[in-house]
């Protein structure tokens, strides 16, 4: 593993909350340390999720300024595209998980597969994702962080 961190979409969402420092001090410290160490890393799936959210806000007349700030953040980040290796690994995890009655959202599957393909550690606030990854023997690719 490279020691670099892939930020999950839900991690970003909690990190950007108005009172994040009061509500989730541990998360804020962890992400601040990551940003101190180097450019942030995101999956293109996170970029897609954030873009479609910002477009909706923009269409409602309250997203243009937020979208510009996100543009500046993403221009500083490393964004990992989907590759054959990522699709293949995601398919493998999906099949294995289905046989064991473990269900993943598509986004979680692709983001986890991206972390694994690039030797990154996925930082997530989603305890279910972390638990599922652990049950499938992928726990070493995930760092779960509690919000409290």
């Amino acid at each position: 593993m490279s020691g670099q961190i892939l930020l999950d979409t839900c991690t970003i969402s909690h990190y950007l909350g108005k009172k994040a420092e009061e509500r989730t001090p541990k998360l804020v410290r962890r992400v601040a340390d990551i940003l101190d160490a180097g450019p942030p890393h995101f999956s293109v799936v996170t970029l897609y999720e954030i873009n479609r959210w910002l477009l909706r806000l923009t269409m409602e007349g309250k997203g243009a300024s937020k979208a510009r700030v996100f543009s500046m953040i993403f221009s500083t980040a490393t964004v990992y595209q989907m590759s054959i290796a990522i699709w293949s690994f995601a398919a493998h995890v999906h099949a294995t998980a289905t046989l064991r009655n473990i269900s993943f959202s598509e986004a979680d599957l692709f983001i986890l597969a991206t972390a694994r393909a690039h030797g990154l550690l996925l930082l997530t606030t989603d305890q279910r994702l972390a638990s599922n990854a652990h049950n499938l023997g992928l726990g070493n690719h995930v760092e779960a962080i509690t919000l409290a």
Partner: protein
């Protein structure tokens, strides 16, 4: 604008005399844009005025850029630093940062071009610089559109026009500069507006952006992000 003004100082007397009209005419076109509708047609008119000026002194610009690309680079960087200070001093910090980003993105593209020129065949460079493609210049994300908008924002500050008007122009310049970088990326050219920035400078800049978002995002917005998550593809 400052880049052009300083470059004009270094031109032969005859070219300087021929171009004497330019700053006033450009300034007039810029004010027309700022006081007008600021729509696509008026931006195209402003870009055309800037292109006409650049085209008129193209041979002088070519010689200057070909003979001394690295000095041009220094001149460019000094002039945008002074313009940026003017802009940032006039608007709120977020819009100052958007202006910084747009100016740096434009500067990074110019830096890339000047570095390429330094190692290229002068005749080829002269040939490329002689091409005047009006359609290409009018395309969203063309560097001359970014430049025209930044010039307009700076001129607006000089004329002490209302801040909200300047902010609108800065936002448009930012959007255009974003399109500009995205448009050149597929050709394998990646320019970094913050080239040479240290890790701590980058981290401080990112933290500032995060604070802007925290100020703007409410709980409803973040719930909407949760709704926008990709759950099942079918």
């Amino acid at each position: 604008m400052a880049f052009y003004e300083k470059m004009l100082e270094g031109l032969p007397a005859q070219t300087r005399a021929e171009s004497k009209w330019a700053p006033q005419e450009l300034s007039a076109e810029t004010l027309k844009y700022l006081r007008g509708a600021q729509d696509e047609a008026s931006l195209e008119a402003l870009v055309a005025a800037l292109a006409k000026f650049s085209h008129k002194i193209r041979s002088a610009i070519s010689s200057f850029l070909i003979e001394a690309p690295l000095q041009s680079l220094e001149l460019l960087e000094n002039s945008w630093r002074s313009d940026l200070a003017t802009l940032c001093g006039y608007v709120d910090p977020l819009n100052g940062d958007l202006a910084t980003w747009a100016v740096r993105a434009w500067g990074a593209c110019m830096r890339f071009a000047l570095r390429e020129m330094a190692s290229a065949n002068p005749n080829e460079v002269r040939q490329i610089l002689s091409v005047y493609d009006e359609k290409l210049m009018a395309m969203p994300g063309s560097p001359i559109r970014v430049q025209a908008l930044l010039m307009a924002a700076i001129e607006g500050v000089r004329q002490v026009l209302p801040k909200e008007l300047i902010v609108g122009v800065i936002n448009r310049a930012f959007d255009e500069s974003h399109i500009m970088l995205a448009a050149i990326k597929p050709s394998g050219v990646e320019v970094d507006p913050f080239e040479g920035e240290s890790a701590s400078e980058r981290s401080a800049r990112l933290q500032k952006y995060v604070e802007y978002l925290r100020e703007q995002l409410d709980d409803d917005d973040l719930r909407a992000l949760d709704d926008a998550r990709l759950r099942q593809l079918r």
